[in-house]
Amino acid sequence: MEEDHELTEELAPALEQEEAADPFTLGGETFTSRLILGTGGLPSLEVLERVVRASGTQLVTVALRRVEAAAGSAMLEVLDRCGVRLLPNTAGCQTAREAVLTAKLSREAFGTDWVKLEVIGDDRTLLPDAVELLDAAEQLVADGFTVLAYTTDDPILGRRLADVGCAAVMPLGAPIGSGLGIRNPYNIALLREEVSVPVVLDAGIGTASDAALAMELGCDAVLLASAVTRAREPVQMALAMRQAVEGGRLARGAGRIPRRWLAEASTSMQGLPEL
């Protein structure tokens, strides 16, 4: 843990510089970090603070629950101290009505009109319910919310969400918490082409290479929670994710080589000796 802390301190300045050179705009705000972090599942507030700092994130998701079951002020003090912006979610909502009400309650509690809109179809898969999602998105946009919509990887639904005014479309790579990575890279790339608002890969990330792939496919940012919070070493994984997002972003900009069926030598055949 102490080593992770030292590594974070050592790498942070270079990573910050790299990130600052390539900011992006989400909901009218400019961010340099392209990693959005979920806070659920960490063992302590001390680890939360280290994870947030190691990740370099500027935007973290939070939730509302009955006060008896909620973490409350101590958690928010940590997040305030880290200087991150809060993104309340509507996790657990299964209808547009529930999600809209939860967003309004979050606006009261957190004083922000930003919302990560989640409307799920069932508890087994936690997959988005497209019909309820689009309905809720439309209502919330009309009510002045900045809506970041958690959605399936369907490019057409993504386009519909952007059309009703969502500030970002956030397709899943795989079900929440599954760690299965990006099951349909083709759809993610297609969705990226379909909409002009930011695309944030949300859910399914298992390890650093998944986050890098999301960025290589053209996503503007990655949102993840479990991959870090449930890792054996969350702080180390947070640092890995930060570098993966940055690496994937750079690779996207650099332009990957086309895939070829057969080999193409990089060492010239000219002057090859006859031995």
Binding site: G38, L64, V67, S73, N89, T229
Partner: protein, 68 residues
């Protein structure tokens, strides 16, 4: 005089005339960012002090927690 209502899923008896503000005070020591829903609608903070609870009300008193 007391009234019967439901707070966070549990039946409770409260003094007649109890306001949302009083209920929040009672339930949320140490929580400053709280939201209240009453019968499926938001009760804005600005009207907590003037909103009296009624028999049969369903209240949800919510606070921040970790989430993904």
């Amino acid at each position: 005089m007391t009234i019967s209502l439901t707070v966070n899923g549990s039946p409770v008896e409260l003094a007649d005339g109890t306001t949302v503000a009083a209920l929040v005070e009672q339930r949320t020591s140490g929580h400053d960012r709280v939201a209240v829903a009453r019968n499926g609608d938001v009760v804005p903070r600005s009207s907590w002090a003037t909103t009296e609870l009624a028999p049969g009300d369903r209240l949800e008193v919510l606070a921040p927690t970790a989430g993904g």
